[in-house]
Symmetry: C2
Subunit: 344 residues, 2 copies
């Protein structure tokens, strides 16, 4: 099906576009009352996740409400460990937690990369519903967690300030760490290929816990697995977003991806000098700017757009939108981007 709005795909491929395209990390989420209503109806986050009709509904909401230039699949990066055999709970206000973790070779034997597609059929059903509902209005972004981030959760078992468990494991038993990372990578490749087969028009890898490693360990335990994924997936544009990994930005830019996502600490001009001109950049307004008044949001958003320039930029926040942001502030950010005219 031909897309009516393919700005993001063209920007990802480095083509000149009429204006800078925009979507927002966590646009399908708690910032919208319409999302919270659906989640309340579902009863819990995981009920919502497992329900293709409701997942489709919240995926479409920001397209209808904000007119963003892409939908992003409503799902969770932790469906991969679950498909590999580690169930998790999502407690309101506390985040995810796993009853079982992988900390030994014996633990590793308990997980599997078999039948990932079958176990994640509910996600693919969601994608089919979304594609039908979108009906070509905007592209659909698929996604997965980067292997290092999934590894963090599967070993630590929950969120952590320091992630000492995975960081200890790569020091004490690098072989075990590589075996688990490799299994996660296998499952992720299968998962993303099927997302694309079902209709996702581009994909993003989220490395949320990149920022706990040092450069050498990031380049040993994180980047090679992102590389395998990027190399295996050739049919759609790919974005990598490694929160806090400024120290490896030059190396991330060597991946066979189209777009590198930037967090809000990175100056766009600095990032462009590090990344070079071959990639599209995505980001990166400080999400806290949306706590400001409309004038401030417009000013800061325009400053950001001016720094990134007219091409090879997909506008976004530098992190997921915070749930307590007023929806009309988020709309102001999006509208400012859509109305912006770059200097000739």
């Amino acid at each position: 099906m031909n897309l009516q709005n393919d700005l993001i795909l063209r920007a990802a491929r480095g083509e000149r576009t009429e204006r800078t395209p925009v979507w927002v990390m966590r646009q399908a989420g708690r910032v919208l009352k319409e999302y919270r209503d659906v989640r309340a109806k579902a009863g819990s986050f995981k009920n919502l996740l497992f329900n293709p009709e409701l997942s489709c509904e919240v995926t479409i909401q920001p397209v209808d409400i904000y007119g963003v230039d892409a939908a992003i699949l409503f799902s969770d990066i932790l469906v991969i460990p679950e498909a590999m055999g580690l169930e998790y709970k999502m407690d309101e206000g506390k985040g995810p937690s796993f009853e079982q973790t992988i900390r030994s070779k014996a633990d590793l034997a308990k997980i599997t990369t078999e039948a990932v597609e079958e176990k994640l059929e509910y996600v693919f059903q969601t994608i089919r519903l979304i594609k039908k509902d979108l009906n070509g209005r905007v592209p659909l972004i698929g996604f997965a967690g980067a292997p290092w981030t999934i590894f963090c959760y599967m070993t630590e078992g929950k969120g952590s300030k320091t992630f000492s468990v995975p960081r200890a494991m790569i020091m004490r038993d690098p072989e075990l760490a590589h075996a688990l990372l490799s299994a996660i990578t296998d499952a992720t490749i299968v998962y993303l290929k099927k997302q694309i087969e079902e209709g996702c028009d581009m994909i993003q890898l989220f490395d949320s816990w990149a920022g706990v490693l040092n450069k050498e360990s990031y380049n040993t335990f994180a980047l090679p697995y992102m590389k395998r994924i990027c190399d295996e997936i050739q049919s759609v544009p790919k974005t990598v977003f490694a929160l806090g990994a400024y120290y490896s930005l030059a190396d991330l830019a060597q991946l066979s991806c189209n777009t590198v996502g930037l967090d809000w600490h990175m100056d766009p001009i600095w990032a462009r000098s590090v990344v070079g001109n071959s990639k599209t950049l995505q980001g990166n307004l400080d999400p806290a700017v949306l706590y400001g008044d409309f004038e401030t949001i417009r000013t800061k958003t325009k400053e950001m757009l001016s720094k990134f320039g007219a091409t090879k930029h997909i506008a976004n926040l530098g992190h997921g939108v915070y749930p307590d942001i007023a929806p009309d502030k988020l709309k102001c950010f999006i509208d400012t981007i859509k109305e912006y005219q770059h200097a000739q």
Copy 2:
């Protein structure tokens, strides 16, 4: 009193030393069984904090056990908000929490910068005991939280992944934010001057939550207050450590401090190029390296020492030592530094 070992002071002043000096962030803490025994005797973290004899004892422990080149006062950055009128609780495994927070002008009226010295007399008593006990063996490092970090706790009321409350406040009510930051700065200057008067030989400012801001907001709401403190304190060497604020490293280097602390993400050679040659650098081994075997620790520590070079370096980890590190691994790190011979 003349110090028998003043390596750290000389390194901070940029003088050549016989070897690279070393101390470790959180060296007086849970990594040591001896510390945990004293804390158990005290009954709680705050009982220990309020007890000068026991605080002195745990301050001295790493000097006796590891032979580090400095003691650091056992205390907590949150004694400042408490002295300003906000009591806090420290729950095992959950971190600090404040019952009252500062979120409005009316809240601001509830706090005071009066009588900070009197309220913190237990800290000064601890310093006097430590100085007597150290008897000139090594210097004593005093410290405080940087105003931005204290501001985060006083507004948010507890630790947070995003610190949305302080980040919203600087956007919505910058005047209120500046008033609170200014009051914190006033109290901190009084506190640090008195620490020095009682015998602290150098001081460090910890900006633990520097990493949540963007560069512009860091330069507006954090740096000017660190500058005031650095400008007011001229009698002893000063170190600033802003975790995660790589984007403002060049600006931090403009402060009238002697030493800039680096976290474990920063490559020493890159940091030296940004900071220039006028400052001493402190850090910055990844604390997770201490999960490795002895050989790995020695190799990585020597690599670090070689990158920093023979002068203007105070060796440390790039973050506080993690409590589950084996004490003999920490000792291996310290011994490797003390035995290292720089290439001529």
